[in-house]
């Protein structure tokens, strides 16, 4: 099988699902399943993403389906928006199936403020956030780490940050994995990765990472919104989208490199070097998962520090009306990660390694991993849109357990290359457009701004409508950006 643009056969299953038959290529071990509506499927067909969905179906030990969420786009190896599960006993883990930015994810912070209360102070708040949250290139993060401290971060994640005074213990209860994935082993992490991480903790980075102040614009599910503490239209909330920075990238690179050099030894013949994989039961496979956990924990500590910076900014601008304890964390999700979980496949409960690359866990009401205070409504799912348009909050639904290894989409999904996005409008035009929409922007690198233009992304509303209608997750609220901070 090649990476050439071939016509991928699609069989319509129902209104929101399309199957790529296993017969498409003899190397596929399972079929593919694409979540999309009629409009999104046309966009999806314009890049090579579906070929990648088929490629992922060739991974040793893959079970069920190679899945594509409606925000899918061409990635390296795995598509972004791709989900695949491999059997714990005889399957592989593919570091490219988690991505370079290990535990890139989103957290949502609520406040007791309404838009009317902040409207007069948007510039001041934007400046305060821009100063508090390091972003862009060439600056250090909020906290410089010693070699000993970074080891503690790797092992304890967000809990380390709370102990150091960044936030509260209750923040951990509403973070996926309590902000610390078990099994992290600093010995599995290279010195090169350590060097990259020492200066970067508590920084946003650049690219599509951001901090956004948003207003709740529409509520779809009043009961769920109230349970999440975001039940008021006009309420101000804050999103932070960021990952494990250079540290996670290096961990990923180290293990893709290792896996790639070993493919012949394992007898794997993969169409894309970026799909290189390690048997889950091998020492190196286990080492990757331990190193990945270190990367994930770094990212949770990172987002914990950034949230602290957000709370401080709000307290500085609004005083008693926005004390840190009155800005609770709603939830924090990963969207680049691998998890060992159990699902019923072909009538049997099987333990699998779920690869989520640009995809979010979406556990339903009643699932024991959902925080107790949300257990009657389901796990919050945070879906950032693009800069000028909406973001969404959903909760996981039962359909995800039955169809998609407990997974749903992660965001709007790119549809234009960075070059095309930059050609389509200037940063001046974009800033004017955003201002006209009532969005206050602070950005370090103006050149990079147009690459992240709304026009470069699919419409997030369409993406979440598909997962809602397909039963993977249920819409709770829509958020509109008011301030955007970017690197």
């Amino acid at each position: 099988m090649s990476n050439a643009q071939e016509k991928i056969p699609l069989e319509r299953v129902d209104q929101y699902r399309w199957r790529i038959p296993q017969s498409y290529n003899a190397e596929m071990r399972v079929p593919g399943m694409v979540y999309a509506d009629d409009e999104l499927i046309e966009q999806i067909l314009t890049d090579n993403a579906l070929q990648q969905v088929a490629n992922v179906a060739t991974l040793p030990g893959v079970v069920g389906y190679s899945l594509a969420m409606p925000d899918i786009h061409w990635g390296y190896g795995f598509p972004v928006g791709g989900v695949a599960a491999t059997h714990a006993d005889y399957g592989v883990v593919s570091p490219g199936g988690i991505g370079f930015d290990i535990n890139c994810g989103v957290r949502l912070v609520a406040s007791g403020l309404l838009l009317d209360q902040v409207r007069g102070k948007l510039d001041k708040l934007a400046d305060e956030l821009f100063n508090n949250l390091p972003s862009g290139v060439g600056g250090a993060g909020m906290r410089q780490l010693s070699a000993g401290e970074i080891r503690a971060v790797m092992v304890r994640g967000a809990a380390w940050a709370v102990e150091e005074g960044y936030g509260f213990p209750e923040d951990l209860e509403v973070t996926e994995e309590h902000g610390c994935l078990a099994g992290a082993d600093p010995e599995a992490v290279s010195n090169t990765a350590l060097q990259r991480g020492l200066k970067q903790l508590g920084s946003l980075g650049s690219g599509n990472h951001f901090c956004e102040v948003e207003v709740i614009d529409h509520i779809y599910d009043v009961q769920a919104a109230n349970a999440l503490g975001i039940g008021q239209v006009g309420q101000i909330v804050v999103s932070i989208h960021c990952g494990s920075r250079g540290f996670g990238h290096q961990v990923a690179e180290d293990y893709v490199r290792l896996a790639e050099s070993r493919q012949k030894d394992y007898g794997f013949h993969l169409v894309d070097r970026q799909l290189a994989c390690l048997p889950l039961q091998s020492d190196k496979g286990k080492a990757y998962l331990s190193a990945m956990a270190c990367g994930a924990n770094f990212a949770w500590a990172n987002r914990q520090l950034l949230m602290h910076g957000v709370r401080q900014a709000f307290a500085s601008v609004f005083g008693r009306k926005a004390r840190p304890r009155e800005m609770p964390l709603v939830y924090d999700v990963c969207h680049n990660i691998a998890k060992m979980e159990e699902y019923e496949i072909d009538g049997q409960v099987q333990r699998v390694c779920v690869h989520r690359k640009g995809a979010t866990r979406a556990f339903p009401a009643g699932h024991p991993a959902v925080p107790e205070k949300y257990r009657t409504v389901g796990q919050p799912v945070l879906i950032p849109g693009d800069m000028g348009r909406y973001s969404f909050v959903l909760v996981g639904a039962q359909g995800s357990m039955e169809q998609s290894f407990g997974t749903t989409c992660h965001g709007a999904g790119r549809q234009k290359s960075r070059t095309a996005a930059r050609k389509s409008l200037s940063s001046r035009e974009l800033l004017d457009q955003l201002t006209a929409r009532g969005v206050t922007v602070r950005v370090h690198s103006k050149n990079l701004l147009t690459e992240e233009a709304p026009q470069a992304y699919k419409d997030a509303q369409k993406v979440v409508n598909v997962v809602h209608n397909a039963g993977l997750a249920k819409l709770v609220a829509r958020l509109r950006p008011v301030i955007v901070i970017k690197g």
């Binding site: 990635g75 490219g96 060439g138 990259r196 650049s206 690179e253 790639e260 894309d272 290359s417």
Partner: protein, 141 residues
């Protein structure tokens, strides 16, 4: 005298790619590095103030090229160094020793076009051509 351009950029949905060319392998490696650095900051803006010795290893030419470029990413990420000029002292199919010269990133003087975070393995290739060599690399930005 080169008979072909040193490199060209191509489009990729979420990231950016490069085709690099060289009459010889060392030239290919140098042009790939120049191409990658130029994606971040235009070479005219980069002064030659600092240089670093670079060593890299791989099991084939593709992994060696990726290792070489990743060393430059590492120096950008940890010391904020942007490079413009390169030398290759020694190059085999599996190892390399060379030098990179440039200066620390200066937000006042350098227009940053992209911050490259990783070199990916996706569709990475090094091929022989009539004029010498061609490489294809996609970057994560």
């Amino acid at each position: 005298m080169m008979s072909q351009k040193p490199f060209e950029v191509f489009e990729h949905t979420a990231d950016v790619g490069l085709h690099a060319y060289g009459n010889t392998l060392p030239e290919l490696f140098i042009h790939a590095a120049q191409g990658m650095e130029s994606l971040m900051v235009s070479p005219e803006q980069v002064r030659l103030l600092v240089s670093r010795e670079i060593t890299a290893e791989g099991h084939d030419l593709v992994s060696l090229l990726i290792a070489w470029l990743n060393e430059l990413i590492f120096l950008f990420d940890t010391e904020y160094l942007i490079f413009r000029a390169f030398e290759i002292d020694r190059l085999t199919e599996t190892s390399l020793r060379g030098r990179a010269s440039g200066e620390p990133y200066d937000a006042q003087r350098h227009d940053l076009s992209s911050a490259i975070k990783s070199v990916t393995w996706h569709e990475a290739a090094v091929e022989r051509t009539a004029e010498g060599y061609k490489a294809r690399i996609i970057f994560d930005i």
